[in-house]
Symmetry: C2
Subunit: 546 residues, 2 copies
């Protein structure tokens, strides 16, 4: 393997995340950058070797006809291919389009057609997703060995690499050029393509490194899929920090705990990690791990369990359109002496906009159809519900090929998240619900999130999700789906009606009448998306049939 | 004091360091931001109270006639006034012009006239510097109490503050607008005015926070004067990190050690801090402190002494034109097992460009007068001397009212530092000298820095500085001025000629003949600038008379 030798002319102008891998390869050429183990042939790449692979990939793409601004699709689990792609596609000045591996072939076809991808990088396990697609692609067998079509593809770039090196790659000069095109799962209608920029990716990555206190000594374990909102910019955050990354094809608790214990893992991102701490292998860690958690607020129970084993939760909030996280719950010194229950309630808030992000506001709904109406903030009373909006560095550029949706999303000059929240007197935001998750019970707006927060404080509740169920008298009433804590499954076996009574009494002591669940159903597990979010849509389907 | 309540409309667009104080006041309103103790009336400001003072200052300046883009001069030691000024002047969309308090009145007058300052903020101790200046000014008695003219001035802004709040301040929308105008001390000719931008200050501040591993738990002690290159952007770095700042009017070892021990200090910046570690009060610290050191490379002796007492040196390099530091010595894991001498030699290198900075290159001199000649990198051989150049985020915008000097400084498209260096095979740079510090001995170029580095490895040498002295046969020969380590002063008392012999033998074993000092002079101390840099000009004056 050639030793990587970037020349000054090869370093892109500000602010382009490609600079991170060039810096890392210059400053720590022999430091381990990437480890991939749950395969037949595990691989370990240093920063210099990895940078060389990235350069080869860029030239291979160019040889394959990829032009600046073109979209290149990637369908892969967490593995070197998709880590490479986050830099190699950028180095070819193309736009990476990560595709969710859990989608159906028709959905994948739609995304490839809508994004007009001209080339695809596909992991062998997901080759079936592109069988009917009329776009050239390369398959990776994830072996890292010659004979693997992806490795041969990298080799096809080597000739140019040797001749022209980094200077030949002619870096993008416009920091507002598109970097990533990421399709949101779209609970209603067709998925939308979120376009983010080089500058935004750079600044979000730096912010995540700072907020996570990542550095040269960090080891990041990939649990969050990299295809999800470009891994919340962590493919760049990790390299900016000179951290080691560990990729896992499959999120498997045995492997996670093995890496926690033996690979010096210090950081991971995930949707609430209830599964990790409730795994039978969970026990006190020899060192502190920072868990960057989004998707839903950590419950009191989860916080207690995490702290018991040495995991420090950092609660963040964001969307694909905001490069993943853009707010953070900033723990206050005054919380330290509060009872856990109260502390959990405060830690559950989405908090404030984080480093390099502009403020997160909560605003009243504008008159329907008026895209220029000035936005009016709700009072800081912790009660008045409005929509979270933001703007600035950590907000997408546009929806791809959808100017109308873009205009609507930026009504009044700020990006509309679609999430409903209140603003507390301390300026922190707290999500009440996606608008569709509000339960209109007896004319009152009941937040399913607020109800879940209270129900989850019952010591026997592991997970809970609440949706609206129609009710003759009240219009709607909350129905709770509960997963019991493993320790208490036996307690209530054959006596679910007694647990229902117990939980309802718990609710009545904490919630207004209209927000108390009318029905409680114990289930073995909750339906979840590939990224760990509870699928309320599936619960609503169940409720609709009752 | 009003509780500070920034509104979303008050937060400036990206990237403006003013955002840092607004965020800090929102997220940690009651956390201590600023402590000032070495005065009759010590003060402590929380982020919310401080932000309110900053808002008052901005309105007071506007009421006093300051317009966007105007320059406002500040003459003060490290104290709340100059900390306020780094935000308040920005909030009024004016440009802060910090003035070195050690200058003569005529020099101050020149800067005020050249910068066309329209208003001045002056600490009482330096009022004499502006006696002959025809520009309105406000004097601070540094009491923080009503009756102090500066406090009364702040109060004059309060009425507007109450009426209009932050939204009334109408933040700057162009991130490339000037932020600071800082005059370099100018060893030859008139001082030059370095103009830096909001964007550059923002990104340099973030980089310094990341490189220094600063965070919410940090406490920064001001030893570096804030007027020096805008305190290397630390007035913004500290607030971005939510760190506590401690200001000292006078750099006094007793106070420094007192704060090290009792104020939880975790960070400071300084020119080599030999004085701090050699102070009789120096002893093992109860916690680790990070010292960000520039101005000259830390010697083996200094590194050993620092580590002994628990100070972790971070060696950085930069200029006023690069917002202070823009390169850093990145310690490699492989250095850990090297003997101290060898490690010190590696740690003395200026290293690589740091986070958010573009690469630091070393290039051959271009043909005289050709401003468009492409820059050619020296080979990475650790031998060929060239000039350090850079570009990108962490480089000044221009020299104020001096387009010719600006063009010359940016010849070939990169900023020329005027520092001569080599590039090592690992891509790290090592300064050999300012061009004028090279000693031409027998036709060979001897680097005074390289000689100093070797001489300082003699165990009895505390500090050493080497300059050229004319020589009948060789043209020039090195002359060394040495400060002995306090423990060894007695050893050589009355026997300086023997020490000279000993040091020369030490040099001969490590340096080529032409680089060995021809003369050695023991002195009680070396002449230094207000910022701790050794004044070779003064040594040359002594040599000229020999």
């Amino acid at each position: 393997m050639l030793h990587f030798n970037p020349t000054p002319a090869s370093v892109p102008p500000p602010n382009n995340p490609l600079a991170f891998i060039l810096r890392a390869a210059q400053i720590y050429p022999d430091k381990v950058a990437l480890v991939h183990t749950d395969v037949e042939y595990p691989v370990t790449y240093t920063f210099s070797v990895w940078a060389q692979r990235i350069q080869n990939l860029a030239y291979a793409l160019i040889r394959a006809g990829v032009k600046p601004g073109d979209r290149v699709g990637v369908i892969a689990p967490n593995c070197p291919l998709i880590a490479d792609a986050h830099y190699g596609i950028m180095a070819a000045r193309a736009v990476i389009t990560p595709i969710n591996t859990r989608l159906k072939p028709t959905e994948v076809t739609y995304i490839i057609e809508h994004s007009q991808c001209c080339f695809l990088l596909v992991d062998h396990e997901y080759q079936n997703l592109v069988q009917d697609v009329n776009v050239p692609f390369v398959v990776s067998k994830d072996t890292g060995r010659s004979g693997d079509p992806y490795e041969d593809f990298l080799n096809s770039g080597r000739e140019f690499s040797n001749e022209r090196g980094w200077p030949g790659l002619d870096p993008e000069v416009d920091e507002n050029a598109p970097a990533v095109l990421c399709y949101t799962s779209g609970t209603t209608g067709r998925p939308k393509g979120v376009v983010t920029t080089l500058r935004g990716s750079y600044l979000a990555a730096v912010a995540n490194a700072f907020e996570g206190r990542m550095n040269h000594d960090s080891t990041y374990l990939w649990i969050l899929p990299m295809f999800h909102a470009a891994g919340w910019t962590f493919p760049w955050t990790n390299v900016f920090s000179f951290a080691k990354q560990v990729t896992l094809r499959t999120v498997n608790y045995t492997q996670i705990w093995n890496h926690f214990r033996h690979s010096g893992v210090t950081h991971y991102c995930a949707a609430p990690t209830i599964g990790i701490v409730n795994d039978p292998q969970a026990s006190k860690l020899p060192h502190q791990i920072t868990a960057i958690i989004a998707g839903a607020a950590p419950t009191a129970h989860l916080i207690a369990e995490l702290q018991k084993i040495g995991i420090n939760p950092v609660h963040v909030y964001g969307l694909t359109s905001t490069y993943g996280p853009f707010t953070r719950n900033y723990a206050q010194p005054s919380w330290e002496n509060l009872p856990l229950d109260q502390r959990a309630r405060l830690m559950a808030r989405q908090g404030h906009a984080f480093a390099t992000a502009d403020v997160a506001r909560v605003v009243f709904a504008s008159p329907e159809g008026d895209l220029n109406a000035p936005l009016v903030d709700v009072p800081r009373d912790g009660k008045t519900v409005g929509e979270i909006v933001t703007r600035g560095n950590i907000v997408m550029k546009e929806y791809f090929r959808d100017p109308d949706a873009t205009k609507k999303a930026f009504a009044g000059g700020s990006f509309h998240t679609g999430d409903l929240a209140v603003m507390h007197p301390d300026g922190s935001i707290a999500i009440m619900d996606r608008s569709k998750d509000i339960i209109i019970s007896g004319g009152e707006n009941a937040s399913s999130l607020a109800i879940e927060q209270e129900l989850s404080s019952h010591p026997h509740v592991l997970e809970v999700s609440v949706v609206a169920r129609s009710h003759v008298k009240w219009g709607e009433r909350p129905m709770a789906f509960v997963v019991l804590h493993p320790q208490h499954v036996a307690t209530w076996r054959g006596r679910h009606h007694l647990f229902e009574k117990d939980l309802k009494a718990h609710a009545r002591s904490r919630l207004p009448g209209f927000a108390c669940p009318e029905w409680v159903e114990i289930v073995p597990e909750l339906p979840k998306t590939s990224t760990g979010k509870i699928q309320k849509l599936e619960l609503r389907k169940i409720v609709a049939k009752l």
